[in-house]
């Protein structure tokens, strides 16, 4: 009866999470299982995206890099034997690719992007307007941080979420702890926020 189960209905990674999920998918992907590849892509594209953006790429270039990194992974999957190394491999490869294609590090027009993302032309309730303004300042301060800080904080935010606990391990970041570098980045961000105060 157990043979009755089909790969589509009940893939070998069903119900797995974290390393176990990656290990099962990588194993299946090595023998050409497209569904396993797709599962990994769905799971980890947000990670690759954050690293690409955290390394100063504009959204379009970041998207190209995300595609390049995934193709590279599946081309070289046989070289990556340990599922525990997957997140680190993706981060390192994305970083390297971002440095290769990135023309010149420049700060992204972050405030404009936020301006588009939030409906600022609509008359908003006062509380909403205050929040939007706070978000705008936060995003601006973030965009002024050194590149290294931007990447680290993006990864820190991601690693704080249950499904990306592996990223925390990759960053050697015990749950709930903020390392010294992160502290310095956050301190810098507070200083930047403080400095904006004058122009309020």
């Amino acid at each position: 009866m157990t043979d009755a189960r089909t790969a589509e209905a009940d893939p070998p990674w069903e119900g797995l999470r974290g390393h176990d999920l990656y290990a099962a998918c990588m194993h299946e992907a090595r023998v050409g299982n497209r569904a396993a590849m797709n599962r990994l892509v769905t799971e980890l594209t947000p990670l690759v995206w954050q690293v690409a953006r955290g390394n100063g790429l504009d959204a379009h270039t970041a998207e190209d890099v995300v595609q390049t990194v995934w193709l590279a992974l599946f081309r070289h999957l046989d070289r990556l034997t340990d599922a525990r190394a997957l997140a680190a491999w993706l981060i390192t490869t994305t970083r390297r690719e971002a440095q290769r294609v990135g023309k010149k590090p420049r700060s992204m027009p972050l405030t404009d992007e936020l301006a588009e993302a939030v409906p600022s032309t609509q008359p908003a309730p006062e509380a909403e307007a205050v929040r939007v303004d706070r978000d705008r300042r936060l995003w601006q301060a973030f965009g002024e941080l050194p590149q290294r800080c931007q990447e680290l904080l993006r990864l820190t935010v991601l690693a704080g979420r249950a499904e990306y606990r592996l990223v925390a391990e990759t960053l050697r970041m015990p749950h709930g702890s903020i390392g010294p570098t992160r502290s310095r980045c956050l301190k810098t961000m507070r200083d930047l926020l403080e400095a904006q105060g004058g122009s309020a």
Binding site: R34, M37, N38, V41, T42, T45, P46, W49, Q50, R53, D58, A59, H60, T61, E63, D64, V66, Q67, T68, W70, L71, F74, R75, V101, L110, E113, L114, A117, V118, V130, R134, D135, R137, L138, W139, F142, L153, R154, T156, V157, G160, I178, R182, S183, L186, M189, R190, L193, Q196, G197, A200
Partner: protein, 153 residues
């Protein structure tokens, strides 16, 4: 609490996380485009970059116009012309070569042609959608496959 301040690092990080999610999430359909790009028979490929003029910044999907992709020593230029529900693609490979060109469109299979000795190729009535161009370089000394990223055309 002073307005605009964050009492501790956890609060600041949580707020940053919320704003990043709001302002800079992975683009809609990105994972699907990656999956489409991966659905090649042979993944031993080089990925070309979409070279964007500054004027194009902010425009990912183009209806008409010229798009340039480059990888190391090869440039693929395509010009799109709207024809009915689809596109005509006029393409040009530099350096020129009589290479095989395949255009894959998600949900529509693919169409193939061969560039002429000037590196030019034409594909009529290519459906719109998530598209990837594959160039098969069959030179005397090497065989390579170059692909563009999967892009919405």
């Amino acid at each position: 609490m002073k307005e605009g301040t964050y009492p501790d690092d956890d609060t600041l990080l949580a707020e940053l996380g919320r704003v990043v999610d709001q302002v800079d999430p992975p683009p809609a359909g990105l994972a699907e485009r990656v999956q489409f790009a991966l659905a090649l028979e042979d993944l031993d490929v080089e990925v070309a970059r979409w070279e964007r003029a500054d004027a194009m910044a902010g425009v990912r999907s183009v209806d008409q116009g010229t798009i340039t992709f480059t990888v190391s020593d090869l440039t693929v230029m395509i010009n799109l012309t709207k024809v009915g529900m689809g596109h005509r693609i006029d393409g040009w490979l530099v350096p020129e070569g009589e290479y095989g060109v395949e255009v894959r469109v998600a949900g529509h299979g693919s169409s193939s042609t061969t560039a002429d000795d000037g590196g030019r190729f034409v594909l009529d009535s290519v459906p719109r959608g998530t598209t990837q161009i594959v160039v098969y370089i069959d030179g005397a000394s090497c065989r390579r496959t170059v692909v563009t990223p999967a892009v919405v055309l």
